[in-house]
């Protein structure tokens, strides 16, 4: 291993977060190698969604540290997470149905596809479609036309487009919240392929899931959460699918 590859892209130590009387997170530690896919597994209520919100700047942790490429950082707002290159894709919440694929891809970042004519700045449709087509085909996503409204896409296609948007804006870490939970088998395969493509581009991915079966197909690293604690962290291949499932379901009791 080269020294550079030794420094984790993201490392968290002892993260904790309380909401009123509820300990949403009690003690979470793990590290993510650059260019790898980390599956964050856990049953409902294990603290997965709270952890995402700490990592994308929606909440600040009560205790614990976050290190980015070896340096300690504070993520006080979503903007600060964006600035580091952390992008989050929420399941089925990311796209605007009435807008075309290209308008969705560049939503909020229209400066990449606009031109100026005197005081008027307008979207150059030709440029936008070319750039969108290029982005999605690099990701191995097949679309009929970048002009098609996303309302007519399948769930898997929508998820892939949302992932492509995360990649488009030079994310270094993509956090995917339950990317396959609402998809058919075939569409799940496609989305897992897209995730593998993202990793091949050198972008790290955290996949939040409670489906071991899907996670095991694409993840290089695993972290299991239970009752707000990270109870296990290991590399792909070191545990069987059954062992991982048991960890998730039985939580702490398995280790004790």
């Amino acid at each position: 291993m080269t020294p550079a590859a030794d420094t984790p892209l993201l490392e968290v130590r002892g993260l904790a977060k309380r909401f009123g009387n509820i300990d949403a997170l009690r003690d979470v530690s793990f590290s993510l190698r650059p260019g790898s896919v980390l599956a964050l597994l856990g049953d409902n209520g294990a603290g997965k969604s709270t952890l995402i919100k700490l990592l994308n700047g929606l909440f600040e942790p009560d205790r614990g540290e976050i290190y980015w490429s070896g340096e300690q950082v504070r993520l006080r707002a979503p903007k600060e997470a964006h600035a580091l290159g952390i992008a989050t894709v929420y399941q089925d919440l990311a796209l605007v149905d009435a807008l075309s694929i290209y308008r969705n891809l560049f939503l909020g970042r229209e400066e990449h596809i606009t031109r100026r004519f005197g005081p008027i700045s307008y979207i150059d449709v030709g440029l936008a479609r070319r750039r969108a087509q290029q982005v999605v085909s690099e990701m191995g996503i097949r679309i009929r036309s970048a002009n098609e409204p996303v309302a007519s896409l399948s769930g898997g296609e929508r998820q892939s487009i949302a992932i492509a948007r995360g990649v488009l804006f030079s994310a270094r870490l993509l956090i995917l919240d339950e990317p396959t939970s609402a998809l058919s088998l075939k569409q799940t395969e496609r989305v897992l392929e897209t995730i593998a493509r993202v990793r091949d581009k050198g972008i790290s991915v955290i996949v939040i899931s409670h489906n071991v079966h899907h996670a095991i197909k694409v993840a290089d690293q695993f972290v299991v959460l239970s009752h707000g604690k990270s109870i296990a962290a290991f590399d792909a291949g070191s545990r069987s699918q059954d062992e991982i499932s048991r960890l998730i379901v039985e939580g702490m009791s398995t280790l004790e």
């Binding site: 990311a94 796209l95 009435a98 308008r103 909020g108 979207i123 007519s152």
Partner: protein, 345 residues
């Protein structure tokens, strides 16, 4: 077994034909559903054909020009309202804002001796301020715009009555900015038609080709996604409330220019026609969908109905009845088409 052979394919054919037919229908529906203006095109065409076939003098220059007067005065409100509705809100106060700002103009000129152009700019500024205020209240307190603008409808109408005690005021005809909204173009046409056309072109361009247009759809279609991508949703909403109020005030100036007098009931109920035109044009009350061209067609259709009924010698009460029927019919068609698009998901 052999005797079964000719029968089996026959029993197979019927469901297959049915499936083909269904797919054909679905794809036609899908194609039509991809054109959000289709309901408005259908409604406008039917109305046009009906009056052209049954009403003498419908296809004359005079008829077209009076149709355009009606369409333009609804249209300059309905077009910005379309963007507001796409963004997930609407404005019931448009008629009252129209009344308030157009009565404020002669009140300032006649009762307070303000110079006409200054008074017009002040009335316009008052409308913008009302739009801003209602938008800011909606956004800041997170209230439904239905409530806030229903309050606005009542309040600004009352304020309009209070200004003159309910009496009409006439504005002496004079040159100035006011003529920009209503100068005659000849043969019965007025400048208001040009404003209507300009609104349709500019707002279509904004919706289809600008960053702001993206934001309007995103605010109404998926507010959470829009916010997470850094779209300034609140600013989009407030500016659309301001634009709609601006449209209402411009429609008011068109009427002032046309009648040279204003009464306290001016604009009452126009918001119903405006919202109906937008909905017939394909706007969804839940936000996220709509078309400026569809709305413009909806306004033209209103112009045709109003004018056609007059030419046919029917009372104007027919207007609201027919409008109501077309409104519900168009929404049924629009929804059926939208389901066609949804089925392909």
């Amino acid at each position: 077994m052999n005797s079964d052979a000719p029968i089996t394919p026959r029993t197979d054919i019927l469901p297959r034909v049915a499936a083909h037919a269904r797919r054909g229908l679905t794809s036609l529906r899908g194609v039509l559903g991809a054109v959000p203006e289709i309901g408005a095109i259908g409604a406008a065409l039917s109305v046009f054909i009906f009056f052209a076939a049954t009403t003498p003098n419908f296809l004359t220059v005079a008829s077209v020009s009076s149709m355009l007067i009606v369409a333009a005065e609804i249209g300059v409100i309905a077009i910005p309202m379309t963007l507001l509705m796409i963004s997930g809100h609407f404005d019931l106060s448009a008629g009252s804002v129209l009344g308030f700002s157009s009565l404020l103009l002669p009140v300032l000129v006649v009762n307070h001796g303000v110079q006409a152009d200054v008074a017009l700019l002040a009335a316009f500024a008052a409308a913008l301020a009302i739009g801003w205020l209602q938008g800011a209240i909606t956004v800041h307190f997170g209230l439904p715009s239905f409530i806030v603008t229903l309050g606005g409808l009542l309040f600004w109408r009352a304020a309009t009555y209070v200004m003159t005690g309910g009496f009409p005021l006439s504005l002496p005809k004079q040159p100035g900015i006011i003529s920009a909204f209503s100068f005659p173009l000849g043969r019965g046409f007025y400048a208001s038609a040009l404003w209507f056309a300009a609104f349709a072109c500019i707002f279509s361009f904004v919706v289809a080709r600008t960053r702001f247009g993206n934001w309007v759809f995103a605010a109404g279609g998926n507010e959470r996604a829009a916010r997470s991508l850094g779209v300034p949703v609140d600013r989009v909403w407030i500016s659309l409330f301001v634009l709609t109020a601006a449209g209402a005030s411009i429609a008011g100036f068109m009427q002032v220019g046309r009648f040279n007098s204003v009464d306290a009931l001016r604009g009452a109920g126009i918001e119903q026609q405006v919202i109906a035109a937008a909905v017939i044009g394909g706007v969804r009350l839940t936000g996220g969908y709509g078309s400026v061209i569809g709305t413009a067609l909806g306004c033209l259709m209103f112009g045709m109905i109003r004018n056609g009924l007059v030419l046919a010698g029917l009372g104007s009460y027919w207007f609201e009845g027919i409008t109501g029927l077309i409104l519900v019919g168009a929404v049924i068609v629009n929804q059926w088409l939208a389901r066609g698009v949804g089925e392909r998901r």
